[in-house]
């Protein structure tokens, strides 16, 4: 079923695009990010490095008053975003006061709802196993934007296409570390093969627990009942929703058959109902 699409893409960019299965091309490991929020110092070097490398525009000058966060969320022009969560108790007691920082990014889901929703096939898993939007194939329908449970994607007002983190596809092709991970001074953002990163992350959680930081856990490293593992996963110390992440992300496609069924039934029911009404009207 992929063959016609593959041919179509080859016509567009023969050397640039390699259509592969979602787990990479099988010749190399799937690459991803491990973002350890306990190491994040909120410097936003990742945000700036991302914008500079990818030549993304500034989002405008808006003082939000929301701690030190003035870019607010991921968007078509902000592919790394540092969230600031001030949790300081009114009495400033040490046990109940902290300031959490977390560098958010596209999760590069192993089974990506955006890709499943894309009607043109513009979204694919590239040879590194990462979710990539081809801007020249994208028709700007915006289905991916609503499909993403993390609110990662956005559509540009300028070129009309959807954009998001490419996991520095171009840098990876040149054997370079993605710009954000390269710029991170404290190794809060680590880049590597997802398998190795997961092992490292599990060790890190164990170490933190041993040191008494028992609230540390991994978000997205493993599959849940509802969702696939994430190739960009996180180490958190509070509920996901404290960081503006969904507690239990859902795949829209999972409920699709039920919803199709419901729509079908509703259609049948409405048809029947109107038939009844028409029949009554005819009688009058």
């Amino acid at each position: 079923m992929l063959e016609p699409l593959r041919t179509a893409f080859r016509l567009v960019r023969p050397e640039e695009i390699a259509i592969v299965e979602r787990d990479g091309d099988g010749q190399r490991p799937t690459m991803g990010f491990f973002t350890d929020t306990t190491l994040c110092i909120g410097c936003k070097a990742c945000e700036v490095a991302c914008k500079q490398w990818n030549q993304l525009p500034s989002d405008g000058l808006r003082f939000t008053g929301h701690s030190y966060d003035n870019t607010r969320h991921l968007s078509e022009t902000t592919w790394r975003h540092v969230a600031f969560v001030e949790q300081i108790a009114p009495d400033r007691s040490r046990d109940r006061s902290r300031w959490l920082m977390m560098s958010d990014v596209c999760k590069h889901c192993q089974e990506a709802p955006c890709q499943e929703a894309c009607p043109t096939g513009a979204i694919l898993h590239n040879e590194f196993g990462d979710v990539y939007v081809q801007p020249d194939i994208c028709n700007g329908c915006g289905y991916c934007i609503v499909a993403c449970p993390f609110g990662v994607l956005g559509r540009s007002e300028i070129d009309g296409h959807a954009h998001k983190c490419t996991l520095c596809y171009d840098r990876q092709k040149g054997d370079m570390v993605p710009a954000c991970a390269k710029a991170c001074p404290t190794d809060s953002i680590q880049f590597g093969s997802v398998e190795e990163l997961r092992a490292k992350a599990r060790q890190r959680v164990e170490d933190l627990h041993a040191r008494g930081q028992t609230e540390a856990y991994l978000y997205g490293a493993d599959a849940t009942a509802e969702y696939s593992p994430l190739n960009a996963f996180f180490l958190l110390t509070d509920h996901p929703n404290a960081y503006n992440l969904p507690e239990a992300p859902k795949k829209p496609v999972k409920g699709m058959s039920a919803r199709y069924g419901f729509s079908l039934l509703a259609g049948v029911a409405l048809t029947a109902l109107s038939a009844v009404f028409f029949a009554q009207g005819g009688r009058r």
Binding site: I41, K44, L56, P90, M101, D159, R211
Partner: protein, 926 residues
């Protein structure tokens, strides 16, 4: 940094940032390291990963506090009280490192009986003259006791300052305002020879029991800094103080080390030098100096700011921390100058070699032994030309012209309004910068200033090249010289600062070439030949477009120095020096900055260019650290008095008995073959006078100075004084503030002398990661501006409620110097403190905004004042008095001078097909 110089001998960070990873506990105080030094903060984080404790003590809960294991909020300006409390804890609980303190510090040394401490004189030391507001260390008997055989000699000279020669009597007392002496040598005023206050082998009491030994003086001095008293002053709890003290004590000793990091949160006080001294005393008592994972990390805030004090852009220093001579008979001849500024024991005994080599580097063949190497050509200081008094003079119309290289006093100077008033009173001003900063557009865009028609200053703006557009070196916070190569030519008319200075010098030399006036001789004879010998090529092999660029490696070679009598067969030029030990005082060597000597030991071997990663964790082949590539200074102290490592865990430098030399991971900061049991003869001079167990070789006695008989102008021991503008009285002493602080009061620089009910709130300025200094490099870039787009002020919910200020709404801050407006950032990260039973509020004022750039906002430094610490003329932006109210202020910057550009740069990547261009360019494809 005389705070470090007076304690240890050299005014620079004693360690390097990477070594913080080896610490067991790191106290960050007076610094917001995670925000202001995010890249260096990698290493404290590495230490934390290994289980080290991170402590942050600060008026504000910052991103550094968020990452620390323990945060303690204190009142701005109460640092000496807090550290004094820790010293008291260490002493009363007998937690000091006995063997270290006994051998490596001056704890056992006996101080002159005539010395009186602040305990006896209500917060003043002996030797204070209320008329001049200065101390005379000799009058105050701050000196070591003389050995018995010298008593008579000393008695006869006492009271006459020094040795009572004709010269002494001639010398004027009226040198108020001349600063910066003894930054590294550490000595009393230069009315007497430096070495007069200390002896290489002073009388000691090894039992530490004598009432006038340093240890007992220290114990008495800090006895009143009890946890309860300190807590009442700082606004913390006694338990918090004890917890910090206990963490430091538990992580110090033979097996463990603690480090202290500070930045301008300590220096920008009228007691700044003494705060750093307090940290020095603490680290000496805990035995953390000269050891891996220990030391004091002075975090310096600008690129190459360490380099600019080493090579010295300061008016009172020559390169390598040699003092600039002053207009005084004591500095008339080279011999006088060496006698009064050099030391007879310790490394500074080589003083003459360094000044002669410097004169040879500057004046070449014109400097000969017969003409005193033309020491007379060096400009003499006749007043205080440090920034604050200088701009005050400028505001009074006493300065005609000014060059500004990458500095923005109009937006970032303390009391920036007064700085702008100074710029408005110039005839001409030259600004070299990337962008038109506040200091370049003050004449047309300053909302607080007069109409442009009323300003006479003629401003010349010259576009400057960026770091990737020029060759050169950085010397950053850890004393490492790092070379950077020019990658591309600067665009258009942009030129490097070096290009500008070099060509200006060439033109001036041409202009005065035929002059017969003797005062032009120094300019005529100045060595000024840095043209390229070969075509100036860029890394890609193409020829540089820029004409007249000096060869920066030639300049570094001059700094490194030459032996003028030997010719290198490879170059046919004088042989490069291998290090400063080769410097001579007979004129046979030239050396532009002795502490950097060794950086260019051979032609084509620029060690600042080294980037080799080796097995040695110290990484000695990555860049070049002065002095002599030592990464941790005073590292002799990493071994015990017998030369063995204190512990296997903290092994660093040790004595190899077989080879009869010091060895280890770093370059020993000690004579390499002086055995630990070496004891000097009673009359030994120079390095021969330093015993084998005295690691602080820059000191005349080789000891770390708990008690500083000289080197600072505000006393031999640190004392808690309130900031000049403090809403609370000093409850430790009757003396309210630093008795030697210097004032520049005038209509533009009013002060709220303490305690004032009109200005009850304490303000402290701070820095954000997202912007750089007053913004000249960041507020013209929309990628940075979007991250922090507007001036704001941090204020606690309690104070906001009291004043009716809303989060995100406008608020106004008023200080005696003026008022500014900002968005209110109401956050619990700021907390009201209970100080001596009263609730005291603090606010945080970032100083990144101004009227030039893409985002405009009020200038935080319009609130701060000119008031100076006596040692280095540093102002007090980290604690001053203010009042706040809700609403906006008049005449504030609202219109940016540069329109908003979503893409700071938007040029296609060359030699790259359209499909591979960066995706964020977002061009309409149809």
């Amino acid at each position: 940094m005389p705070g470090l110089g007076a304690s240890f001998g050299r005014g620079a960070a004693t360690t390097y940032q990477q070594d913080l990873a080896n610490s067991d506990c790191i106290l960050i105080m007076g610094s917001n390291m995670a925000e202001a030094h995010p890249v260096g903060f990698r290493w404290p984080m590495k230490a934390k990963e290994k289980g080290a404790k991170l402590i942050h003590v600060d008026p504000r809960f910052t991103r550094t506090s968020a990452l620390a294991d323990l945060y303690v909020g204190i009142r701005a300006g109460s640092d000496i009280a807090f550290l004094g409390g820790i010293i008291n804890y260490v002493l009363t609980h007998e937690r000091w490192f006995k063997e270290y303190v006994l051998h490596y510090t001056n704890a056992a040394v006996l101080i002159d009986e005539g010395f009186q401490d602040t305990e006896d004189l209500g917060g003043l030391f002996s030797g204070y003259d209320p008329k001049t507001r200065e101390y005379d260390a000799a009058q105050g008997h701050w000196n070591y006791q003389r050995p018995p055989d010298q008593e008579t000699q000393q008695d006869s000279s006492e009271g006459e300052q020094g040795q009572g020669t004709g010269k002494q009597q001639k010398s004027r007392r009226g040198r108020k305002g001349v600063h910066g002496y003894g930054l590294m040598g550490g000595a009393t005023a230069h009315l007497q020879p430096k070495s007069a206050s200390t002896e290489a082998q002073p009388p000691e009491d090894p039992t530490l029991q004598a009432p006038n030994c340093v240890f007992q003086i220290l114990r008495r001095h800090y006895a009143r800094y009890t946890p309860e008293k300190v807590a009442a002053i700082c606004g913390c709890t006694p338990e918090q103080l004890v917890e910090v003290a206990e963490l430091l004590c538990a992580n110090s000793g033979p097996e463990r080390t603690s480090a202290i990091c500070y930045a301008v949160g300590w220096t920008q006080h009228t007691t700044g030098v003494e705060i750093i001294r307090t940290a020095g005393i603490l680290q000496l008592l805990l035995g953390n100096m000269g050891r891996p994972g220990g030391g004091i990390m002075a975090l310096r805030g600008h690129a190459s700011i360490q380099g600019s004090t080493d090579i010295s852009t300061l008016y009172d220093l020559l390169p390598g921390y040699l003092p600039q001579p002053i207009a005084d008979p004591n500095h008339e001849k080279l011999d006088d100058y060496v006698q009064y500024e050099g030391l007879s024991t310790g490394y500074w005994a080589n003083f003459r070699k360094f000044i002669v080599s410097l004169l040879k580097a500057w004046y070449g063949e014109a400097a000969t032994p017969e003409n005193d190497f033309h020491f007379d050509w060096l400009p003499r200081i006749d007043g205080d030309y440090s920034q604050l008094p200088y701009f005050q003079q400028m505001a009074q119309g006493q300065v005609k012209g000014y060059f500004l290289f990458g500095q923005n006093p109009g937006g970032g100077g303390p009391n920036a309004r007064l700085h702008r008033a100074g710029l408005r009173n110039l005839d001409w001003l030259v600004v070299l910068d990337w962008f038109e900063t506040e200091s370049a557009v003050f004449w047309k865009s300053d909302p607080t200033g007069p109409q442009p028609s009323q300003i006479k200053t003629e401003v010349f703006f010259l576009p400057a090249a960026g770091a990737p557009e020029k060759d050169g070196s950085f010397t950053n916070t850890q004393r490492v010289l790092q070379w950077h190569d020019q990658a591309v030519d600067p665009p258009g008319d942009c030129r490097s600062d070096a290009w500008f200075v070099y060509n200006l010098g060439k033109r001036l030399k041409r202009l005065y070439a035929d002059s017969t006036d003797p005062k032009d001789a120094p300019l005529q004879n100045l060595t000024w030949d840095y043209d390229y010998d070969h075509p100036h090529l860029l890394p890609d092999g193409s020829l540089s477009r820029i004409e007249g660029e000096p060869d920066m490696e030639k300049i570094l070679q001059e700094i490194n120095g030459f032996n003028l009598q030997e010719t290198d067969p490879r170059t046919g030029k004088p042989r490069l020096l291998s290090g400063f030990s080769e410097c001579k005082d007979d004129g046979s060597t030239a050396c532009g900055c002795w502490i950097y000597s060794g950086v260019f030991p051979e032609p084509s071997r620029n060690r600042a260019r080294d980037r080799k990663i080796t097995q040695n964790p110290v990484q000695p082949e990555w860049g070049y650290a002065w002095p002599h590539n030592r990464r941790i200074m005073y590292n002799r102290a990493s071994a015990d008095p017998q030369g063995r490592p204190w512990s296997e865990r903290k092994k660093y430098i040790w004595w190899d008995e077989e080879k009869r030399q010091w060895t280890g991971y770093d370059t020993p900061d000690f004579e390499p073959d002086k055995p630990p049991d070496y004891r000097p003869a009673p009359d030994a001079k120079g390095m021969a006078a330093i015993a084998g167990d005295k690691p602080f070789i820059m000191k005349p006695d080789g000891r770390g100075w708990l008690f500083a008989p000289g080197g600072t102008k505000d006393g031999p021991l640190p004392v808690h004084y309130e900031p000049v503008e403090s809403p609370v009285p000093n409850t430790l002493y009757p003396q309210q503030d630093n008795p030697t602080a210097r004032y520049f009061e005038g209509p533009l620089n009013a002060l709220a002398h303490t305690p004032e009910s009109e200005y009850p709130i304490i303000a402290t300025t701070f820095r954000l990661t997202e912007h750089y200094l007053s913004g000249p490099m960041s507020r013209f870039n929309s990628w940075l501006n979007e991250l922090q787009p507007e001036m704001f002020i941090e204020i606690s919910p309690e104070l906001a409620a009291e004043k009716g200020i809303e989060h995100g709404g406008w608020m106004t801050v008023i200080s005696p110097r003026g008022e500014i407006e900002a968005r209110a950032m109401v956050t619990r990260r700021l907390q009201p403190l209970v100080v001596e039973g009263r609730t005291i509020h603090q606010i945080g004022v970032p100083f990144h905004w101004g009227f030039a750039g893409e985002t405009a906002g009020s200038i935080g430094n319009d609130l701060t004042s000119l008031v100076a610490d006596p040692n280095v003329s540093m102002h007090e932006a980290k604690a001053f008095a203010c009042q706040v109210r809700a609403g906006r202020a008049p005449n504030q910057p609202t219109q940016p001078t540069k329109p908003y550009a979503p893409w700071p740069t938007r040029e296609p990547v060359p030699d790259t097909p359209p499909s591979a261009q960066p995706e964020g360019q977002l061009r309409r494809t149809t």
